[in-house]
């Protein structure tokens, strides 16, 4: 230790002091030594194997991925809340309280710097998650763009979790505060989910609830009303939590404490307003609507130019958002379509049905309440209609499943629908019709199972004639023909077959 010999800086005057620069330097120190910083790699690994992995396994649709990002905030938020509580309790835990109290800066300002450091790292981490998911989606998606409102709610939730956790840590600086806050923050958003399930619309203010339904952002526009209400609520939580920190006498001077009280009060008002807005929300077929934040002009369905695959027997056309699924879907449909292509009654095109938002989202409101108990979900199967005939697929099929899952879920029903639409001409099929149907299904690669005569398709089973029966013999005979010969025979005899005038013996 040296007594003298080094000049010591003179005392700064009040006029030359620059608090903003000092505040920035304090924040820089806090950022460099934030508790969250060394834990970020661990958190990244945890998320990579849970939330992010789950997000990227969903269909590469921007609305789906955007909604995933909002919902995944539950896990990050809980961890951030716990770490913020841990940071807030730092002075007491490290016995630094006397030292920092004897310093000149108001406690509130110092606390805000500590909180800001945790929050900045947490928000940057969340931004990195958004970047990962959106970059992956940008490479996979074929149409549209992100719905930024949803990750914006997530970001606001991260900041709110951090503020609330910090306030708990500051007021209850115990050793167990941080773990308790983490557990509490993990379950807090679920209160809203439970309330929503119990028909309490205010529960939608929880960031665990997002404003989208199946088809939002693809077939009908996103309505940001609920997201706005959620952000207002979360901003209120942030302001209330940070304002409350200024209440203790040690927090600072009278004016600062008054400002803190005003901020806390404004925060409570905002949180109440957000909750009230969410309380007026309704789940409609096209998403969650907040009447005060909704304009009728935004209800128009999204127009799009279909993307088509012409490599199969008939063109398969879908919404461009599903362009990546076109080859797979065409390959799935082609075996059945190629058997009947060009015949009267055969589909000349495959496309998505243009139904109501309820048809698309699968949400049909049963009463004016718009609450979950009044909702019935229905996902329609493929249908053939129109002249010339078109095979319509329900958009909800593609919105909710990959091609692999669609083929699993629908099984042979599409092939049966296509072939029956061509072969059957009257309600009770004739033996010859059943034989031709069985032959075409067999030629399309399906495995037939014997069922009693007259039985219609049920479940995933494909009905077939009883082995050894005349129908089975005729079906085997017809299936054994070359595809061109089968097609030529059908072209010549289809009208008679549909009319029931062809006997089993007349089948080639």
């Amino acid at each position: 230790m040296t007594a003298a010999g080094t000049s010591v800086p003179s005392r700064p005057s009040r006029l030359t002091r620059r608090p903003s620069l000092a505040g920035w330097r304090l924040l820089r120190l806090e950022l460099r030594r934030s508790t969250l910083l060394p834990l970020l790699p661990l958190l990244a690994v945890l998320l990579a194997f849970t939330e992010l992995r789950n997000d990227l396994s969903h269909p590469p649709l921007w609305p789906v991925r955007s909604a995933d990002l909002q919902v995944q905030v539950e896990l990050i938020g809980a961890i951030v809340a716990g770490l913020a509580a841990w940071t807030a309790a730092r002075d007491g835990r490290r016995h630094v309280t006397d030292l920092v109290t004897a310093a000149c800066w108001p406690q509130w300002v110092r606390q805000l710097a500590s909180w800001a450091a945790v929050t900045i790292w947490a928000t940057l981490f969340y931004a990195a998650c958004i970047a990962v998911v959106f970059l992956a989606t940008a490479r996979q998606a074929t149409w549209g763009g992100p719905i930024w409102w949803l990750p914006a709610v997530g970001a606001a939730a991260i900041v709110a979790f951090s503020a609330a956790g910090f306030a708990f840590g500051a007021f209850f600086p115990g050793r167990f505060t941080a773990p308790l806050v983490t557990v509490g923050a993990l379950f807090a958003p679920q209160i809203g989910v439970l309330a929503t399930q119990r028909n309490q619309a205010w529960g939608r203010v929880s960031p665990a609830v997002n404003a989208t339904v199946s088809g939002t952002g693809t077939f009908f526009p996103f309505h940001p009303g609920l997201s706005i209400a959620q952000i207002v609520f979360l901003a209120g939580v942030i302001a209330a939590a940070l304002g409350v920190l200024a209440w203790p006498a040690a927090a600072g001077g009278r004016w600062l404490r008054r400002a803190g009280a005003m901020i806390a009060l404004a925060g409570l008002v905002a949180a109440g307003a957000g909750m009230a807005l969410a309380g007026t929300s309704r789940l409609e077929a096209e998403g969650v609507i907040v009447p005060a934040l909704h304009t009728a002009a935004s209800d128009r369905l999204i127009t799009y130019r279909s993307a088509c695959d012409n490599s199969s027997a008939v063109p398969v056309c879908l919404h461009p958002a599903f362009r990546a699924q076109l080859p797979g879907l065409a390959a799935y449909l082609d075996p059945a379509l190629s058997q009947v292509a060009g015949l009267p009654g055969a589909p000349v095109r495959v496309q998505l049905s243009r139904g109501t938002p309820g048809d698309i989202s699968g949400i049909n409101i049963g009463s004016a309440g718009g609450t979950s108990s009044a909702i019935s979900r229905s996902i329609g199967g493929p249908t053939i209609s129109g002249s010339p005939p078109v095979l319509y697929l329900s958009p909800s099929l593609l919105l909710n499943s990959s091609v692999a899952r669609i083929s699993q879920e629908l099984g042979p029903s599409v092939a049966v629908t296509i072939i029956q639409a061509v072969i059957y001409g009257r309600p009770a099929p004739s033996p010859a019709q059943r034989a031709v149907e069985a032959a075409l299904l067999k030629a399309a690669g399906l495995r037939l199972q014997a069922v009693p005569p007259g039985t219609r398709l049920s479940g995933n089973g494909v009905p077939g004639p009883e082995p050894g029966s005349p129908v089975s013999a005729a079906a085997n005979r017809f299936a054994a023909l070359p595809a061109a010969a089968r097609h030529a025979w059908l072209t010549a005899h289809l009208a008679a077959l549909r009319a029931g005038r062809i006997t089993l013996a007349e089948i080639a």
Binding site: M1, T2, A3, A4, T6, S7, V8, P9, R11, P12, T16, R17, R18, P19, L21, A22, R25, L26, L29, R32, R33, T35, R90, D91, R94, H95, V96, T97, D98, L99, V100, T101, A102, A103, C104, W105, R110, G252, G253, R254
Partner: protein, 247 residues
């Protein structure tokens, strides 16, 4: 006078830690002696404005710390080393001192230079980038002293500053104290009388919350002549005054 204390009392429940202390002191090194539990730390904490008095008045640097504005001004000109020094283990020496320099409202442009000087003055220049968790107890004490002097305080309160320092460091520290005492009021609470003898111009001895002696180290030495127990003259004065107070 930089410190003017009148009838200052502090109670913790039924325990009276400081009982009607009166004290006035100006620039120089002031030693606060006393046995464990005498009330030295409570008195220092009140002077550091972290513990409000139960009764009595306290004026520091010609300001009353009751009001927020004057208290802030006092804190800006204050250096304080608590008895139990807490620290953030993840901070480096330089960051820890910089943190408190900023909290003491120093001009940001001056902070890096002042931090470097403070660290050099406690002979920790080669440890400036070391994390606090890696330092020994004596080094941590020196970090505490560095943060206390970084703003070149007008009132410096040091509670057991030499605890954990090796003999060489203690000698250097006493020299530092004498230098600081030329410009500021330095109040050193200690139970090591040799520190007082070597560095202090004034000394007070506390017992059971009261000041039972106030004078120069030489006057305390005189009080021990022919009385008391101890190896050094000052120790004999210390024990003689305490024995008299207890009687």
């Amino acid at each position: 006078m930089n410190v003017e204390i009148t009838d200052l009392t502090r109670r913790f429940g039924r325990t009276v830690a400081v009982a009607g202390v009166n004290l006035q002191t100006g620039p120089g090194v002031f030693g606060l002696l006393g046995p464990n539990g005498a009330g030295k730390t409570s008195l220092l904490r009140m002077m550091a404005t972290v513990l409000p008095p139960t009764s009595g008045s306290l004026r520091l640097l010609d300001r009353d710390p009751v009001g927020y504005g004057p208290r802030k001004e006092i804190r800006r000109r204050l250096g304080y080393l608590p008895q139990a020094l807490g620290y953030y283990p993840g901070f480096t020496v330089a960051e820890f001192v910089e943190y408190f320099a900023l909290l003491k409202d120093m001009r940001p442009a001056q902070v890096p230079g002042a931090v470097a000087i403070a660290i050099e003055r406690v002979s920790l220049g080669n440890k400036a980038r070391a994390k606090l968790r890696t330092l020994s107890g004596g080094m941590l004490r020196r970090v505490g002293i560095a943060q206390a002097i970084v703003n070149e305080p007008e009132l410096l309160l040091l509670d057991e500053p030499t605890a954990g320092l090796d003999p060489e460091q203690r000698v250097q520290f006493r020299a530092l104290l004498r230098d600081l005492g030329n410009r500021a009021t330095v109040i050193v609470s200690t139970h090591l009388v040799e520190d007082v003898g070597a560095a202090c111009t004034e000394v007070a001895l506390m017992n059971e919350g009261k000041i039972v002696f106030h004078g120069t180290p030489d006057e305390l030495t005189v009080r021990g002549e022919g009385h008391g127990t101890g190896d050094a003259p000052l120790e004999r004065g210390y024990s003689a005054v305490l024995a008299q107070a207890r009687a």
